[in-house]
């Protein structure tokens, strides 16, 4: 079943490629995409950080016995959109060593505080991409990430400060791996496919066996109180999948299961309820048709609002006399039923080959499309900040502007759900890691809000840094 569908999709893709014609070239361009060499990078936007880190090293060498000096960073003047506690005007945010320590109208700034005057701009918690590729390295990201990569800079320009690599959530600590990883082992991915009843039965039987074990264990503990020689239930077999199931049933782990059709989603809901496990459903394309069932089962969902490119429709099955396929209202309906929600575009990488508004760079636009379907604007913003963080289990660190949380935010010239809004600065770990006017990528687009700015000069050949 699955295989047939995939073949059809590939076939459709092939046709569409023939149609488009331009895709071949784009794929080439994508493949060619070079990553800037670190030494090139150090000449451009990373320069300020590099100088800073050099300074720090020198200082460390000078007075080795003293603890490292506290690092203070403050943003003043911006309208602060906390996401969890309303909007604040005339507020200063002070961060110490990468953590927010104060949000107040009047803050006494320690000496040596790096101050960013963002008067006239809007500050939001950095966006959280619950599904991403190419921005961070493979596993473990703190050992394999190119911290000067173009992809990371682009994601930062999109306001993203936390992304996921494999099963690890990590922050986009440009130029450094310090405090990069937020959480490892985010999810236990389960295969629970409607189309494969055999493997599904195997999963259920595994959970049943573990449940029996937990009952036996409870009975043993009761018995032990009166009978010292009571026999402990055998746990030699509790390895591999069984160990996973045990963790899930003890709610020490969260299951992630891909499910798109209503039938598949309901199957997953039944699994979650029967064994009391915590589940995040990935995809949930037809979630809008079974939203109440999802809410009853207490599952969360990570969804894309729009279909991928080259898609041949919304997957509505004309043969069925019931609602099927995708709906622009999916997010809104799930939200109304109380299903926790994170939004991510179907193209969960940052591309450079020309199609705009469909990849991770415009994570915010995917949320805007959810508003079109009826999701309240504040819920849409939460679905890419605090609610996304909650689904990843990292909301104690990121996702909102609160004292004690990581100093990760992006500062824009407007509402992030508006299509003209540009990121002016992105801050991660209390450091400016993206500055639109210093980084060449978008500096020519509405510099300081000027819609009539002239186009940039064409330099050829151009030496990085030299002609800035």
């Amino acid at each position: 079943m699955t295989r047939t569908r995939r073949t059809t999709k590939n076939f459709a893709l092939l046709i569409a490629m023939m149609v488009a014609g331009v895709f071949t070239m784009s794929a080439l361009a994508f493949a060619e995409d070079p990553k800037p060499k670190p030494e090139e990078k150090s000449e451009t936007s990373a320069s300020s950080q590099d100088e800073e880190s050099v300074d720090e090293t020198e200082k460390k060498e000078e007075k080795k016995k003293e603890p490292p000096k506290d690092r203070y960073f403050a943003v003043t003047g911006a309208v602060v959109h906390t996401v969890t506690d309303g909007d604040r005007y005339g507020t200063t945010i002070l961060a110490k060593n990468g953590k927010i320590v104060e949000i107040a109208g009047s803050v006494e700034l320690p000496d040596d505080t790096e101050v960013l005057d963002a008067t006239g701009y809007h500050l939001y918690p950095g966006l959280v991409a619950v599904n991403s590729g190419g921005i961070l390295g493979a596993k473990p990201p703190d050992e394999t990430t190119d911290v000067y990569s173009l992809q990371m800079t682009l994601a930062l320009a999109g306001g993203i400060t936390t992304a996921v690599s494999g099963n690890t959530a990590a922050r986009l600590t440009f130029g450094s791996v310090e405090d990069m990883v937020v959480k490892r082992d985010l999810f236990t991915t389960l295969q629970y496919s409607t189309g494969d009843s055999g493997s599904r039965r195997k999963v259920r039987e595994g959970f049943e066996r573990v449940r029996q074990y937990l009952r036996d264990l409870q009975a043993y503990e009761e018995k032990k109180k009166v009978d010292a020689e009571a026999e402990e239930p055998d746990k030699e077999w509790l390895k591999g999948d069984y160990e996973t199931y045990l963790k899930l049933m003890r709610r020490e782990a969260v299951a992630q299961i891909s499910a798109d059709s209503a039938q598949h989603i309901v199957d997953v809901c039944q699994l979650a309820e029967r064994f009391g496990i915590s589940v995040v459903i990935r995809g949930a394309q037809e979630g809008w048709t079974v939203a109440r069932r999802m809410a009853q089962a207490g599952v969360s969902a990570t969804i894309s609002v729009r279909p991928p490119i080259f898609s041949m429709g919304d997957g509505h099955d004309e043969r069925l006399n019931r609602p099927t396929g995708r709906s622009i209202e999916n997010a809104a309906i799930l939200y109304k039923h109380g299903v926790p929600l994170a939004i991510v575009p179907s193209m969960s990488v940052v591309t450079t080959w020309g199609l705009a508004g469909r990849d991770l760079l415009h994570l915010n636009m995917e949320a805007a499309f959810a508003v079109r379907g009826g999701l309240p604007a504040d819920a849409a913003l939460r679905s890419i900040t605090i609610d996304a963080a909650r689904i990843l289990g990292i909301d104690h660190r990121v996702g909102s502007i609160e004292v004690g949380k990581d100093a990760d935010f992006f500062i824009t010239d407007g509402d992030p759900l508006h299509y003209m809004t540009l990121t002016r600065w992105t801050v991660v770990n209390g450091r400016v890691v993206y500055d639109k006017q210093k980084e060449t990528l978008y500096s020519h687009i509405r510099p300081d809000g000027d819609r009539d700015a002239p186009p940039p000069d064409d330099h050829w050949p151009r030496r990085l840094g030299a002609d800035q």
């Binding site: 014609g21 361009a29 199609l355 079109r372 978008y442 186009p455």
Partner: protein
Amino acid sequence: MIRQHHRRHLGVVVAAAGFAAYAGLPAGAADQAAVAVGLAIRAGKVITMDGEDSVINNAVVLIKSGKIERVGPREEVTIPDGYRVIDAADKWLVPGLVDAHNHTAGSLMDLNDMVYLSNPGLRTLETITPDNKLIKQARAGGVTSVLLIPGSGTNMSGFGTIAKTAGRTVDEVVQRSPGSLKIAQAGNPERYWYGVGRSFMNYNTRQTLEKALAYHSAWNEYEAGKVADEPIYDPIFHGFRGLFRREYPASVHTQIYQVVMTTIDMLDKKFKIRTVIDHGTFDGFKTAPLLEGTDVYTINGPRQYWFDRSQRKMHGNAARWWQGGQHRLGVNTDAPVVPQRELSFQAAMACWYGWKPYEALRGVTRIPAEALLIDDRVGSIQPGKDADFGLWTGDPLDPRSSCEMTIIGGKVVYDAKIKRRF
């Protein structure tokens, strides 16, 4: 169980409502009568896209026999007795969007008939599929006119067809055939056969056009009475006569600086064909100054930016065309590359990359209509033009706004209240 029953009933109700709406739509006698009586739309804002760029707040638009009768402020326009009224005082009325580069109005399987490297006699008219599932989606995005062109797998893949996005029969949907001639200058036909490169493709396109021009000239001479014998009719080249008479344009798949230069030089300057640059992507915008004094249009897309690695800059294609002086500028979706219903979002993204919203909205309404020479009928809200509109909850470029109702020829062809598709 109760819930399921409930939903089933609801489904029946919705289906019935949908049926009722549809049954009365395109060809029903009752509806024809209604159209004859007339329709009035009260809108909060009308973006007319007329020559003066008028925007009218609290406006009334009167429609009769599928055409716009009158447009004006509510105080000035009295709704005649018997007119059906659509009250949309909180909505924007926008001209039906026009996508000048589209592959979804017909059979997707028959777009690239790569029999020869040039297939000038072909046309997409026979592959039109009215009301197919992709075109239903187009309506949900407020798109009302599309140019269905063949693919770019060969240098010349035939004549396209301009179609409306609603109607039951081919006759109902077709606006003009031929809509345009599709030429693919470079950047795809290379894959036709081993050894095909730009020199060969340019020779190939040029010699085909030369033969067609010779054919056209022979007929011109005969028609002017200069030669007595009627030339032999050639089904391959006869369609080119309208092209050389500039009755319809060439939709040119062209992108990259050098290739677009060739397009301008060969098609506009040498063959004097009305030319529409249909992708214009990568660094094609560098040719903008060459277009001064021409009537060449640029319909940019589906790509909306180009990453210039040498400068480490992301250039918005539309913004750079505009800044270079090319103001006959619109955007396309190349659907199904980008879904048809996201045409307005293509314009929005062009703005994120540096273009301006009003110009961008014009770039999906009046400009593509002008480019295809159908602006006498569509692309703006003016008396005498086709009553094709979208009723939007706000700025059509904003992804948060939705098209709540699409009207073609004075008939409601999409109503989000009955079945929302986007």
